[in-house]
């Protein structure tokens, strides 16, 4: 099944036309996307470093995972929504953009991987300071996935 009809439909929705026709809408939404990136990226980095056992021994990994959930989950949702508004301003341009396609695959993989990891650590009851090997490796994968999302996102504008 191709997503092409869906992208064609997006282009003619009221929201799509409004985003496309406005002079500043794209710039404003893109800047919000960037500001949220700073906060979201910062918290993901912070959290993954804790999961790796690097620094922050005073707070247990499960507690950190729970404390940071509003900011990481809220950040991911805000990134998705602002990103969607950017997409809808010119769906056909993005449909044929290779970095965009890569970014979507990477983004959904990162979301699933990261939140399964964060939720499982949040639920675990270990009081041990030592991070398990599985958690360490998972945190590295999470960071690599998010970095790839960021890099492919930046590349969209260059292709």
């Amino acid at each position: 099944m191709s997503l092409l009809p869906f992208f064609h439909w997006l282009a003619v929705t009221h929201l799509g036309i409004a985003m496309r026709d406005s002079t500043w809408a794209f710039a404003i939404v893109e800047i919000i996307h960037l500001v949220v990136l700073a906060i979201f990226g910062g918290s993901v980095l912070f959290l993954d470093l804790r999961f790796m056992g690097l620094g922050f021994r005073s707070v247990s990994a499960p507690e950190m995972a729970r404390e940071m959930l509003p900011i990481t989950a809220g950040g991911a949702i805000a990134m998705f929504l602002t990103g969607f508004l950017l997409l809808i301003s010119g769906p056909m341009r993005y449909y044929y953009n290779t970095p965009f396609r890569a970014k979507m695959v990477l983004f959904f993989s990162a979301v699933i991987f990261h939140f399964v990891l964060q939720a499982s650590i949040a639920r675990s009851r270990t009081q041990s300071d030592r991070a398990t090997v599985v958690h360490r490796v998972s945190a590295v994968i999470s960071l690599l996935l998010w970095s790839a999302v960021g890099l492919s996102g930046r590349a969209i504008g260059y292709f």
Partner: protein
């Protein structure tokens, strides 16, 4: 101010400036590193500010967060400074006239002053409010200023390219 303009124009014709400008990929690569470096600087500072405002990690010592976050922040700052300087070198003659660029420099100066003031005053007595959920008014004011200024820096930074 004419001297500053001449200086920017002199930088603009140096071999380094010309080579960044004329290469296809150098500028985009530096710019990408600069953009993603935001996560290290603004992102880690935001976590600290959010703790000062009592919104997150309330039971964690403020000084612990500072100690763990600051090495990342400074690393990021170094990356941002070097890449930002290279970007400026490649566009110095046009950046000089760019309104967003001027605003960004002003905001960077203000955020520096805000941080300096915070560390010289209220943060000196951090032992007395390290575990407070509601931190002193001055700390919360500094956190609010910091969040607003960094948002302004990201906005004006992005606007440089839009006004180009």
């Amino acid at each position: 101010m004419l001297k500053l303009l001449h200086f920017c124009q002199w930088i603009y014709q140096t071999p380094l400036s010309v080579s960044i400008r004329e290469s296809t990929w150098t500028f985009p690569i530096i710019e990408t590193i600069h953009t993603l470096g935001i996560v290290l600087v603004a992102g880690t500072i935001a976590i600290f500010d959010v703790r000062l405002l009592g919104l997150l990690l309330k039971r964690t010592r403020v000084s612990h967060i500072a100690r763990n976050v600051l090495p990342l922040t400074w690393t990021g700052f170094g990356v941002m400074f070097v890449t930002g300087l290279l970007l400026f070198i490649s566009e110095s003659a046009t950046n000089y006239f760019n309104f967003a660029f001027r605003i960004k420099l002003l905001l960077l100066l203000l955020v520096g002053l805000n941080t300096l003031l915070f560390h010289l005053t209220v943060y000196r007595r951090v032992e007395s409010w390290d575990l407070a959920e509601v931190t002193p008014l001055h700390a919360r004011a500094a956190a609010t200023c910091s969040l607003l200024l960094w948002t302004g820096i990201i906005i004006s930074g992005r606007m440089i390219a839009y006004l180009h």
